[in-house]
Symmetry: C5
Subunit: 279 residues, 5 copies
């Protein structure tokens, strides 16, 4: 009987770009007040335009503005789009605004909304092998493409999500460890499936208070995944991630990058933010 | 019988922001003297205003100013507040002062005062399991919420502390190691409880000469905890941390970030500090 | 009988230089509009000149322009040339353009197109040893040089490739791990050959949708290899690399550097790009 | 019988600040010549004042100036003082000189002269335990304080040293490794004592040609110790450290930071140094 | 019988400083053309003066200029001198040229030409122990000093080499690994000798096409050794280092830093280089 493939099926949706900017404060402060006001209002108008769900489009394709806490940056923009080209278009048109002469890009992250299908991969692979199909044979590929197509339709709202309206965002990238003894990618599929299942149970307990969007970034950026958490009470970020850290898949296999915490700002509130206050 | 949860209960209190700034010395020195004096006095007034315990508020919600030793920065501001929004408000309003055009933010740390309840977690979990409760069942959650509520009241002064008046501060972030063989998060609860207990005994021997505030930063910043030590004799920082380094939980599981050492400066002393001297 | 050499034969072709630039936006934006237009048109003309296959030369010796997504840079130039001197000539003559006063070099990568000959190394080494030749003896060296000469002719189009016209590029550097237990360079030749063979099978399944160019950089830059993927659908980058990550040679032995994703821009489109849009 | 404490006794003396500066050469060179001369002479006078043993003080409390080799910095100042406050006072008063507008602080290191008492810790602990004393009991603490007081008096010249007059300095920070298998802080006291003893024997063979000052920096800076070597023949730095690297305590447990090599410059020679030459 | 010392004898010769500079292109380009020409010609004259073998000195004491490929720098200067003071003198006098206001020092490396005497150490140690001498006894030291003195004379041309005239240079620093299981410095002397011998055999096969200069930097810079390879065909760098990577001493124990590749430029060619072309 053929060997079960090691690679779980994944669904992909919106491409996502996180942009972190630092305000060049001394240069900004040197501007004549009325001039500064015009610049920030132009910026606010442009950002307001991409903050809303795009009426003419099938998917939300929104952007959101966050004010970052601490020295890692002043502004975080998060863009969801149907393609990398659309993301790049947004990036270039913002860079062309006068406001962005005063915003230094200090970090960014490119990824795509991803749903990992550990359970249905296991089921699908088992069925196809029972049917005597050889992995990667044309029949196998057709059957797998079928599963993916069906699931993509069913999952569409989660694949192309609106940006949650929560007050706080927490973003961080992560990898699965490939250590000399503990190597996620050499762990057998059923064991990975079991650990991911338990991992999911924790997340479910927080479903009411935090919204999580996982994006895949293998081939796009320097870590394997990006995680966005959205919540009104930021303490939940700590509670959830601390609890997960004792979970086997995180305790043993997770590597984390930098954490960014931001407060949602309506684009129209940008002039106020640049004046030193927020809602 | 149900399995004891791996996650110890924690109490959270004030949110804390550490801000490290470097003085843009050449730009500052280029200012006309009277102008510089006005700028630093305006800054000193603003900082004086947030240095005191807030009379109208239940918790101290103070800020403190430290002059940093060495090249890692010139000024350290430490803010304790009831929420991240309050921290961000403080951060933005300071950034809006003219003084902060000459202060480059070089580092920061976002965390929340945390008390880890290893002992009472163990007791509580044992009791609830003896009562036949299932972890995370509604009854379990109610019972746990009860313990947390009671302890939070009892611990309030430690959860929302005044900033100790000591002459020196030492701040550093830390992680618990998740190595291939030595992994804190895979260590059984009773073993962790034992190690934390021994760790606490060392701290207690230094109680008279150093005050320690532990803040949790999982989900908020790049390390898992931040540690602030406050003492009049800075040699105690070395003695305490060196002794702890031989302690099992530190020797085997602790990873440390950068250490920042500062001298407490009353906000009103800022003009003097900018003139090159301190009390 | 003599021991089989551990080092696989490799063929080398074009030398390759990747250059990543960040646009000094504030300085660029401060230029008078007509002046900026002249500068970018001069740059576009120069880049157009090296974008085409060089008619008088045996090998394509092309350059290509990509607009980078995110903060890692704004422009990626990729040059294929017959020698490092030719690459350096291109680098210097571009640096001499006025446009490059506004382009800060933030990263680069020097490497050479490489084809690893695991299969034919194994065959050749086995034959020569059967013939009783001693590795590195003059007869051995002559025989090996022969194999390399023949293969180089056969592989010429792959050794001196045209730059694929695909819409997207993904570039990243990588190493083979030399860990304390898992050390690629101490793994026996047949085992490495087996793993590389399986690795190649995955690549072959993506042959229709992605073009891959491997370059070697041992002795030239900070990683051992550079990988360029070219595709019209960037999702394929993720699919391919994710699938390969479960492959033994990648799961156990691969270390990856930063990933750069860019959109192909015809050099003649540079003025448009600097105006904030692309095709 | 009580367990022997793991922590060796240490003696502490002068606090030490290393400051590494880079000359902002273009800004410095843009100065009008006479103006530059005045600035550097004022700086030289101030540094000359703190270069000498302080006549009114019990301890030398000196500073020294070194010209650094290579790109890591241009100037290294080393200050020995009785307290961190005194170090900070020196730091602030230097920063206030016009010269320091042209000196960018690129690195620094805060530490305290430390003598580790492995031998006498072992003896003292053994005696006290034989006397039936409990570690950390009041009687134990008194006895230990006694040992420290006596040794501090005996060691005073080594605890508060003059800065050796040697032509070259070599400074580097170091840690003791806490690996998963090799962990200095989990190594039994007698074994650490044995290794430190052998380590000391090597140092003693170089006593005639190199002077070594060890400073502890746990709780003060990012490494556990700082090492200063002073010698007239810099080749001795290499000979000594290479020989020590084969020593068990270094081979297995030492982690090293950056190495800084400087040439001693009398403060009065600073104008000459800024003119491009030295004695 | 006494134990054989673990430390191999080494011979030292010229001190070497590598300096990597980045041209401040926008500032350079802003210069009036005739002014720029004067500046670069003054620089070329000064560098020409130190490029030649010093006629009045016993050792060559030369400097060489390389144009670096890629973003790591624009210019590499390599200086060989009899002492660190002589290197520092060269460094300071170059820094004083107007040209160097436009050259930002981005990296450097300080080391000393080193010949490791594994074979003759083994022989010498064995003889002396057979003669009943105790390591580090006065008789032992005299005998060892004798060997070093004799070998230093014999090896003088290799200890104080002329800078090879080859078209390309490749420079990189390296360490020997001190891992938890694989630790070069805990490997017995005969085993290290065997591995170094095999390592040398590979080098010898490339003797005709590449010249290698090893410099030791323990106690001088951040890695243990610096390696310079000189060749007319840069592909040889890759061939040689790739082959060595499979060698036990490299595969298991070598850690590599950044690689710098440069093209030799006669100092007199500097004005042409600054004009954007080379020979």
């Amino acid at each position: 009987m053929a060997e079960i493939p090691a690679v779980p099926l994944t669904l992909e949706g919106s491409f996502v770009l996180h942009q972190m900017f630092r305000l060049r404060r001394p240069e900004w402060r040197a501007l004549e007040e009325r001039h500064a006001a015009q610049i920030v209002e132009e910026g606010a108008r442009a950002l307001s335009g991409i903050e809303q769900r795009r009426p003419a489009e099938a998917h939300p394709n929104q952007s959101a503005v966050y004010s970052l806490i601490g020295h890692k940056g002043d502004l975080l923009l998060v863009h969801f789009r149907d393609s990398i080209e659309d993301l790049h278009r947004a990036e270039l048109s913002l860079a062309h605004l006068k406001l962005f002469d005063y915003l230094e890009p200090v970090h960014s992250y490119l990824s795509v909304v991803e749903l990992g299908l550990y359970e249905s991969s296991a089921k699908t692979y088992a069925q196809l092998i029972e049917q005597g199909l050889e992995p990667h044979s044309p029949e196998w590929n057709t059957a797998v493409a079928d599963v993916i197509a069906r699931q993509s339709v069913a999952m569409e709202p989660r694949l192309y999500p609106e940006i949650p309206g929560a007050r706080y965002v927490c973003f961080y990238p992560m990898d699965r460890k490939r250590g000399e003894q503990k190597n996620w990618y050499m762990t057998p599929m059923p064991e990975r499936q079991r650990q991911m299942h338990e991992h999911g149970l924790i997340g479910r307990r927080y479903a009411g208070s935090v919204r999580q969007i996982i994006t895949g970034s293998i081939g796009f950026d320097d870590w394997e995944w990006g995680v966005d958490l959205f919540a009104d009470d930021p303490l939940v970020f700590k509670k959830l991630i601390y609890e997960m850290r004792f979970d086997e898949v995180s305790a043993v296999y997770a590597l984390f990058g930098s954490f960014y915490v931001g407060l949602r700002i309506p684009a129209a509130g940008l002039p106020r933010l640049f004046d030193g206050s927020f809602a």
